[in-house]
């Protein structure tokens, strides 16, 4: 048993740190730190910086323009990026569609789409969920009917994250209505500029615009945009679910959030003393820190399994459940530490107070409410428990 990283891994960490120190723009890092809303150009700017370095597709194999990093290297990169307040890499093209095309796409599709993901030509979004098909994704109803060289799509997708910035959407659509629902689903790529598509914003609980509904009316899509065979969509969806699971615990985000909570509790006062000296509040921080320290090791143990034995198993659902609970607990503490000052909305109202802005004590209630999503999307924590019940406990 040896919990230390190898010399090479430590050297790699130094390299990542130096790169971030030299290349992550201060204004971007500051925006991330205070929980400000990242605009499209902010995300594109960071993508371009990483792409120049060859690190944007850090989960891809070298042959497709990726880094070929090991699970541990990926983890180190994610941890350091979070620590430096780097914007999150938008996952839809890079972490989702990329691996799908590499595994199931045709040579033409790989050659056409992958470089465009890297250089930012195409911004992708994910069209899985529908109003009636959330946890029960296989019940999706959006229809794609073959008509000559085209599919004609009718239906509705929803919860489409950052669809307002997107050029393309990858969709799960129904291509067969008889038989088991899973057997009639296909994976297709749709240009959002195609006639018949309408995107409408959904306002979230804290007031932000991050998700959308997408309506399809007689949308004609070239049959060449199908990925894999017709009716193979469920296999692809399952592959994707099992694929990018290394960062699922969000350990890097939590470490950062813990630091912020401690800093906040040192700055804010109760009864004339720094909040962190209050034993009740300190105990709450300690409880989460203890969980997080254990989570780091749980995460590394599963990474180690992935690195030494190939793909990680269903036990990664543990990472999703515990990881999101920890992140949400930290958001909760940040909100509590601010007390009533967490409530002004929009939080800029508070910002007549330069001291608060400087301290980055902003948006904490908004972050807390927004991050309730963490335990809902990507397979809710209930669904993760169902997976564990069956696949791990065999109950």
């Amino acid at each position: 048993m040896d919990l230390s990283f190898t010399k090479e891994e430590e050297a790699f960490r130094d390299e990542v740190r130096t790169f971030l120190a030299d290349n992550l723009p201060d204004d971007l890092a500051e925006k991330v730190r205070i929980g400000g809303e990242l605009e499209k150009h902010d995300m594109e700017r960071w993508h371009a910086i990483l792409n120049d370095k060859g690190w944007l597709a850090y989960g891809w194999p070298v042959e497709f323009g990726g880094t070929g990093w090991s699970p541990v290297e990926k983890h180190i990169f994610e941890e350091e990026a979070a620590r430096a307040n780097a914007p999150r890499i938008v996952p839809f093209g890079l972490a989702m569609l990329g691996p799908v095309l590499q595994k199931f796409g045709s040579k033409e599709q790989q050659d056409h789409y992958l470089p465009r993901i890297l250089d930012g030509t195409d911004w992708w979004c994910q069209g899985y969920s529908e109003p009636g098909a959330g946890s029960d994704l296989a019940s999706l109803k959006t229809r794609a009917v073959r008509d000559g060289d085209e599919y004609v799509i009718n239906g509705q997708k929803t919860w489409t994250t950052l669809g307002q910035h997107a050029d393309w959407i990858f969709c799960l659509v129904r291509t067969k209505t008889d038989g088991k629902p899973q057997e009639g689903i296909s994976f297709i790529l749709v240009d959002l500029a195609t006639p018949g598509i309408e995107m409408r914003p959904i306002k979230l609980i804290e007031g932000g615009h991050e998700v959308n509904e997408v309506f399809f009316t007689d949308v004609r899509v070239p049959a060449a945009n199908l990925v894999g065979e017709e009716n193979m969509g469920w296999t692809i969806a399952k592959f994707l679910l099992g694929h990018e699971r290394t960062n699922i615990a969000g350990v890097g985000f939590s470490m950062k959030a813990l630091e912020e909570v401690k800093a906040l509790a040192r700055r804010t006062k109760r009864n004339g003393k720094p909040l962190i000296e209050n034993p009740l509040f300190a105990a709450r921080i300690a409880d989460v820190e203890i969980e997080l320290e254990a989570m780091k090791i749980t995460n590394l143990r599963m990474l180690y399994t992935a690195q030494t034995q190939g793909a990680p198993g269903p036990e990664t659902s543990i990472l999703k459940i515990k990881g999101t609970v920890i992140r949400q607990a930290l958001n909760d503490l940040a909100r509590r530490a601010l007390g009533p000052a967490a409530a002004p909305f929009p939080s800029e109202a508070m910002f007549g107070n330069a001291a608060l802005v400087e301290a980055g004590d902003v948006n904490n209630a908004a972050d807390y409410f927004n991050n309730r999503k963490l335990s809902i999307f990507g397979g809710s924590n209930e669904i993760q428990r169902n997976i564990l019940t069956k696949a791990m406990l065999e109950l």
Partner: protein
């Protein structure tokens, strides 16, 4: 033993519930709660005609209530309809004016809106840490997140004068007031005082302030109970109607037991609020109010988080009423002392 409301309170409760559901329906509420003045001033006048504010003051101060159960009756209805009307400020102000023996007819008929400015950025809950100073009738300091302050005409401000805490009346027109919406709707303000003129209302005010705050805390507990009841109804309705995997999601045992846990917490919350209301004016008032605010803080957050989780994505939207109830339920904890603040007050009663 009798857990039923008196006839008068039941009538007030019925008429206020009806008023809010008829006129302050959800769509209207969301429309007004986030834009200045952060509530509907025409409805404020109508609501005052129902006697809502008179119910908060005792007879010798010109009202017809003022007891713990009067406060809970009014605020439970406000919570049930997540009503953004700035009644909390009026309650706190009425308590202070009653303690001072001052005339409050303009407050009670609703014609002059009052807000009470106690908390500061570094003293959000605790009176001892207040730094705003009064000297020769001039006040200097900053009051943070003053509930109802966005469109109040008059502020009652807690400030240090010599060694004691006093309460001053400050006209909004004499001070710098920055109003804003709260994330859970309704308005508040930052009150900037810079040698701003104030008239002393209460000289040695610590006890009166604590008493007023206890009334406010009780009110918030009752508001949370009303909002938890409404949230629970919305949740149960959704569990019965939302289908996934071919069945109503309420059929999944993983959700059923949690729904039962919520109902259990809500009943406990209701009980401790009744208990605290019964202790108003008694020696143990502070302890039981602190107990109630602690339990409510915990229960309300649990109900909010679980209601969101069991709804799934739909509860993450502005459009869904449950998201607004959840915000209100969580943010109540940050008003007039949070779980930890009141837990410490309970613990302090253990000292011999």
């Amino acid at each position: 033993m009798d857990f039923s409301l008196t006839e008068d309170r039941r009538m007030l409760s019925d008429s206020l519930n009806r008023f809010i559901s008829d006129k302050y329906g959800y769509d209207h509420r969301v429309k007004v709660a986030y834009d200045a003045p952060f509530h509907d001033t025409a409805l404020w006048a109508e609501m005052c005609e129902l006697g809502v504010l008179y119910a908060l003051a005792p007879e010798d101060a010109g009202g017809f209530g003022g007891a713990g159960f009067d406060i809970t009756t009014v605020f439970e209805a406000l919570g049930r309809g997540i009503c953004p009307a700035p009644v909390l400020g009026s309650l706190l102000a009425s308590k202070l004016l009653t303690a001072a023996g001052a005339d409050q007819s303009a407050l009670l008929d609703g014609s002059v809106r009052y807000a009470v400015a106690i908390g500061e950025l570094d003293a959000p809950y605790d009176l001892d840490a207040i730094e705003t100073e009064a000297k020769d009738g001039k006040l200097t300091g900053r009051k943070a997140v003053v509930y109802g302050g966005a469109d109040a005409k008059v502020f009652l401000v807690a400030a240090r004068s010599g060694g004691t805490l006093a309460v001053y009346e400050v006209k909004a027109s004499d001070a710098q007031v920055t109003g804003y919406a709260l994330i859970d709707g309704g308005g508040a303000a930052e009150l900037f005082l810079d040698a701003t003129p104030g008239t002393e209302v209460l000289a040695d005010a610590t006890a009166a302030l604590e008493d007023a705050l206890d009334a406010g805390r009780l009110a918030l507990c009752a508001e949370a109970v009303g909002a938890m009841d409404a949230t629970n109804e919305i949740l149960l309705d959704y569990l019965r109607t939302r289908k996934q995997f071919g069945v109503a999601i309420g059929k999944f045992q993983a959700l059923q037991h949690r729904a039962v846990d919520l109902v259990t917490e809500i009943e406990q919350a209701r009980s401790i609020t009744i208990l605290a209301a019964s202790k108003m004016g008694a020696e143990e008032q502070a302890k039981f109010v602190a107990m109630a605010k602690t339990l409510i803080g915990r229960a309300a957050r649990l109900v909010a988080e679980e209601a969101i989780q069991m709804h799934g994505g739909i509860a993450m939207t502005w459009e869904a009423a449950v998201s607004h109830y959840a915000k209100r339920l969580v943010m109540i904890d940050a008003q007039l002392g949070d779980v930890d603040y009141h837990l410490e007050r309970v613990i302090a009663t253990y000292a011999a």
